[in-house]
Symmetry: C2
DNA sequence: TGGTATATGTTGCTATTGTCAACATTCATC
DNA sequence: GATGAATGTTGACAATAGCAACATATACCA
């Protein structure tokens, strides 16, 4: 199924639309994204995208879903290193999470933008989001079993961790962190996760 | 300057627009917000809002600015209690911040939505945002002077705290925290700030 | 091989929106 | 009471989302 130029059919329009949307969001911004604009860039009629996405929100949902799947893959990489202690694992997950957001701004913006009002309308998106979150939950649970992470509602602890790395990511992407510190976003990520671990640790 | 019904002039249209926009964002969502819709609801011509706001983004900027001013007021209330230790103060600030976000979803959404692409276009907004952040910075600095908060770049520590409470707030507003836990958002806020304090504390 | 259902793309249309320009009315001030 | 400024209105234009009807290519089957 090759892309055939000048042919009636595009070849892989669905994929092309998603890629173009990602570029748009990265270079311009998400609020100006338009299906017609994307169609224009792809040299396709203004209604062609509707053969692949029910509406604009469905396109965003598809992108978000891919974003969560990719996020999970990134986080999974961290777990492949079996030499890490539970604390190191959680810290590494946090840093990796922030790295992901920064490296994939378009994905991350769509995943957590208010443009996707109702997650529940897209079950596969919800599933992908939950699956990436599961990695964090399980890692924390392991730490609790090893008695290096404080006991208590695992999901709640995971929410706190998630909130922290999500906050860092969003503030960074929204350019709320002063430019001088932008260079040291990695440093901030490490500081944040290090502090998080201290809050997670069992009291001695 | 009373609101005069059936008169040519509205009375206080600027204020009315902002209030109506807030209601819209709370009941519907920010992406569907339209100036014409607001004008319609206020029984005013579709272009009347342009006498008060240069464009749609300017309206959002005005709302965001008010949001930051109000946030600062909320946080300031915490500081008025002189009996708090630095740690308690920081914890209370964090909880108050989250309470603010939850109690004022429309404000908070606008303050941190991607719809306001360029903060720098609105200097007074930037100033209001920085001023509310200053409260956190100064409180942490005091804790450092009292040697109960770890030393290091104060602004960076403040960024971590801000990220955490921002993350909790955004995830809550975006309904990413499971409904069963939604009731206990206050509990989550307390847990998060308590963990944060442990990460901030000086090592013993 | 040829024919047909289906997937994919196009054209044309309507309703809505943001925003501009020109005009109307009221208010505030001298 | 007159006049300039503030505020509101009317009418226009371009862009957009999304629907319906139509066109073309593709896949699959007899």
């Amino acid at each position: 199924m090759m892309k055939a130029k000048d042919s009636y059919h595009h070849g892989d329009l669905r994929h092309g639309i998603i890629e173009e949307a990602k570029i748009w969001i990265e270079t311009k911004d998400i609020s100006s994204l338009s299906l017609r604009g994307i169609a224009r860039r792809l040299g396709v009629s203004h209604n062609a995208p509707y053969r692949h996405f029910a509406d604009k929100e469905s396109l965003l949902a598809a992108i978000a879903e891919m974003g969560f799947i990719k996020l999970r893959q990134w986080l999974q990489q961290v777990l492949e290193d079996n030499t890490l202690t539970p604390e190191e694992g959680i810290k590494a997950l946090g840093v990796k999470y922030i790295e992901y957001a920064i490296s994939n701004p378009a994905y991350y913006r769509v995943m957590y933008s208010a443009y996707l009002s109702d997650y529940k309308k897209y079950p596969s998106l919800e599933k992908a989001a939950e699956e990436s979150f599961t990695i964090l939950i399980e890692t924390i649970a392991q730490g609790q079993q090893a008695e290096v992470i404080r006991s208590g509602d695992t999901r709640e602890l995971a929410y706190v961790c998630w909130s922290l790395v999500h906050g860092v990511s969003m503030l960074y992407l929204d350019r709320q962190l002063r430019s001088s510190e932008m260079k040291s976003i990695e440093k901030l990520a490490k500081l944040a996760t290090a502090m998080m671990i201290e809050g997670l640790a069992v009291k001695k």
